[in-house]
């Protein structure tokens, strides 16, 4: 039976260790766990926060669809994907993906696959709020993200 993914879209922060523990607790059939955390970055010191908007309902549904594709494709033992919305300050968490599998490459590929599709297909949008109080506008989608996704074809 295929593993059932844990999907959450939430305003509050997540706790990586809690989520890993939930995935592997009491199991001895998992040999590899890969986590990806995406954080709000601010190289120049000009960003006050990112504001994450999402399409409620569809965001969860797309994340679940992507997660189930990854579980089937890489025979994952477990998968968790959590995406935050609302205002997120530099250094804070935005997204978490955890993939658990027997062998290491499947866990790496599973988490990487989910991130590539989540970037390009899950309905979330980022708006910049700058340190000077102005709005930096909406973050543009990147061709590089489409290319990263297309490596899984």
């Amino acid at each position: 039976m295929a593993a059932s993914p844990t999907i959450r879209v939430q305003n509050e922060d997540f706790h990586l260790q809690t989520e890993i523990d939930r995935l592997v607790a009491g199991r001895t059939d998992i040999g590899a766990v890969v986590t990806f955390s995406g954080l709000c970055r601010d190289d120049g010191g000009s960003l006050n926060a990112l504001e994450l908007e999402h399409y409620p309902g569809m965001a969860e549904a797309e994340m679940r669809r992507i997660a189930e594709l990854a579980i089937a494709r890489f025979s994952l033992q477990g998968l968790t994907a959590i995406h935050r919305f609302g205002k997120i300050a530099p250094g804070e968490n935005i997204v978490l993906v955890i993939a658990a599998s027997r062998h290491r490459q499947a866990a790496f590929d599973g988490a990487n696959f989910v991130m590539d599709f989540l970037k390009t297909a899950a309905p979330f949008w980022k708006k910049e709020h700058l340190a000077d109080g102005s709005t930096g506008g909406w973050v543009s989608a990147k061709d590089a993200d489409d290319k990263a996704r297309d490596k899984w074809r």
Binding site: Y55, M58, T120
Partner: protein, 85 residues
């Protein structure tokens, strides 16, 4: 056909409302037809849908291409390319 439209990100900002219910003319068959129709409804719609080729459409919360029919849609989402993650 009456349908609920929901807008996100800068599409929402330019149309200046998060959602609305509208009555669609019979000539609107595909997602692309819908975008072309909305563009005629005023300056905000015109600004939001100026480059319809970049706009994404979801029917009942599933992505559709612009040439797909929207018949049977209860809710249609209209938004820019996604930038989450």
């Amino acid at each position: 056909m009456k349908v609920k439209l929901v807008y996100f990100a800068w599409v929402r900002e330019r149309i200046d409302k998060p959602e609305e219910e509208i009555e669609l003319p019979d000539a609107v068959v595909t997602a692309g037809d819908l975008l072309r129709h909305l563009k005629t409804l005023g300056d905000g719609y015109e600004a939001a849908l100026q480059y319809p080729e970049v706009i994404r459409v979801a029917v009942n919360q599933e992505h559709v291409d612009h040439d797909e029919p929207i018949a049977g849609a209860r809710e249609i989402g209209i938004f820019p390319p996604m930038t989450g993650g």
